[in-house]
């Protein structure tokens, strides 16, 4: 997307440079500029972007397909995650979220005090954590690894430290809790 934006900017700057150098009255007529580049080009780019937005939006919608359900509870200032643990039994963790790779899952996001927002940039969109309400976000992690997450809604003095880690593991190979759990301020 950055490359596309850079290419369009460069294209416009080149056109501008040509326009400055060109003598009056030469070159293609107004139709090319107004209809081709003014309407056609812009509409193509915008429709492509909006289409991509819809595609991403559809991907993060929860479905009724019996996907794994995990809860995320925000409070000032940290996250409590409830998810399946090493042997399938449910475990509760503080500021570390464990998710299996290549497995669609629905994250139920809520809060016990003020409004927070769950955001893992590498996994897609943000979702508000609202007291008394569970917002559901569909997540899908492509590959094992460790991702950064943070609170994306100002929630008080500790807001900027309200970070968490997402550990994506190979399904069936739950990581060692004793080494990866715990200290969130490393």
């Amino acid at each position: 997307m950055l490359l596309g934006a850079a290419a369009i900017t460069a294209f416009v700057l080149i056109l501008l440079a040509i326009a400055w150098r060109r003598s009056e009255g030469s070159g293609p007529d107004e139709r090319v500029w107004t209809l081709g580049l003014g309407v056609g080009f812009v509409m193509t780019v915008l429709v492509a972007l909006v289409g991509y937005g819809f595609w991403v939006g559809e991907r993060i919608l929860p479905r009724t397909d019996g996907a794994l359900r995990i809860t995320a509870e925000a409070q000032q200032w940290g996250w409590v995650f409830t998810q399946p643990g090493p042997d399938g039994a449910v475990i509760e963790t503080q500021d570390v979220l464990y998710v299996p790779a290549r497995t669609p899952l629905d994250l139920e996001i809520t809060s016990t005090d003020v409004i927070h927002s769950f955001w893992v940039p590498r996994l897609g969109g943000k979702m508000d954590a609202v007291p008394g309400r569970a917002n559901v976000l569909r997540l899908f992690a492509e590959a094992p690894g460790e991702l950064e997450g943070l609170c994306a809604e100002f929630c008080g003095l500790g807001h900027s430290f309200m970070r968490f880690r997402v550990i994506v593991y190979e399904p069936g190979a739950f990581p060692d809790l004793s080494t990866s759990d715990g200290d969130e301020n490393e």
């Binding site: 429709v47 819809f54 939006g57 559809e58 919608l61 929860p62």
Partner: protein
Amino acid sequence: MRWAAWMLAGPLLWAGLFSVVYALHGVGCAWGWPALTTPIGQAQVVILAAVWVGGLALHAILIWQMPRGPSREDRLVSYGAWIGLVASLLTLAPILLTSTCF
């Protein structure tokens, strides 16, 4: 100034149609239309699409009835009518393309 009214009719029709579909979308979600099925699909989609198609028909009538001629005003009238049709076609296409009520 009649031509100005003709020119604005297309965009105004788009604005009205969009607002009506948007409002019906909210009403449908509140009243549980997605759970109702009709012979041709989910009630939510069918109702919204019916209003959309009705609006497109009005756009078509507008284009059919608009004054035509070589003058600048007539050209602007034609632009307005076509812009309205394309806007309604594009901005309401998500009725068929996306999920509703989340």
